[in-house]
Symmetry: C2
Subunit: 188 residues, 2 copies
């Protein structure tokens, strides 16, 4: 009887291993060899699924990005304008897990030196920016939509990073208070 291989499960295990390594030591520490060891496979099994290290990184980051997009789209649902912006921002700051925040930070750092990571982060950011622009246009004229989006991006990035800066994540209540202090005056 031929041994059946669940290709999807294999691919998932490989991407899971990449994320685990990136969270521990950064994307620079991801190698085919280390991923194979962690996924319990040989390096030739890994290279059966990806042509090389760049494709391995791209596949993983794209999978993570697609999952985040799904979650954000679910959070925004049928909302429009201000409530949609608030839902998207609240997902990023309050809804996302600590692992998601850490993965994003590792990606942001890795993107400084690895073009494949830069390209994947750019693709995600373009999607996020389109989402915000679509809804920012529907919000009142103060402030200017471009400034509003910049503030939202900065406060999202800042509330994620502040916890790492301080060494311990801020509680949900603390993040919510700071977020409200910024969003309410902007009419959100």
């Amino acid at each position: 009887m031929p041994r059946t291989v669940d290709h999807d499960a294999r691919r998932e295990a490989i991407c899971d291993a990449v994320v685990t390594i990136a969270l521990e030591d950064g994307f620079a520490a991801v190698t085919i060899r280390r991923v194979a060891a962690l996924a319990g496979a040989s390096t030739s099994v890994v290279t059966h699924y990806v042509a090389g290290r760049d494709e391995l990184l791209a596949l993983t980051v794209r999978r993570e990005g697609a999952r985040r997009r799904e979650q954000i789209e679910e959070a925004v649902g049928g909302l429009a304008g201000g409530p949609a912006l608030r839902a998207a921002v609240e997902w990023a700051v309050l809804g996302a897990t600590e692992a998601t925040h850490r993965t994003w930070l590792a990606l942001l750092v890795g993107a400084q030196s690895e073009p494949v990571l830069r390209a994947e982060l750019d693709a995600f950011n373009r999607w996020w920016d389109r989402l915000l622009r679509r809804h920012a246009r529907l919000v009142g004229p103060t402030p200017d939509a471009r400034v509003l989006i910049d503030v939202l991006d900065a406060i999202v990035d800042g509330l994620i990073v502040a916890g790492f800066d301080e060494g311990a994540g801020w509680s949900l209540a603390r993040r919510r208070r700071a977020l409200d202090a910024v969003l309410v005056p902007l009419g959100l």
Copy 2:
């Protein structure tokens, strides 16, 4: 004639080398050997000044922190309350160089796995927090001083990170517009 050695200059060159490596490849890539090579010295010269890698990291981060504190104190000068907070925040977001922003990001990432970096970052943050608290108390009652400081920390971190997130630093004018959109409604 005995060869005179300028110990201060040697120490500076060693710290400069640590910063250069941290900016390129992160603090994890800092080794005595690589620092020595970059500073144009032997490893035994480096270990003449520091007992080991941890002390090397601590010495460097402490030097960087002291320089930043001096710059912030000069920016705040004789101001008090709201104008002092604005001056400190503007220094961090608009006045600091890109190298300073990158060094801070590398430190924040390195602090996740290296206790010596965590301790130095904590020490700097305690000083920054005391500065902000001293002046936040003098600002009107809305919002609560603790929330005000959290918002300032988040927007500072966010405006620094947003440029790395996007792959290209935001222009000064763009950072200033976003900063104003957050600070003005807070009465700063």
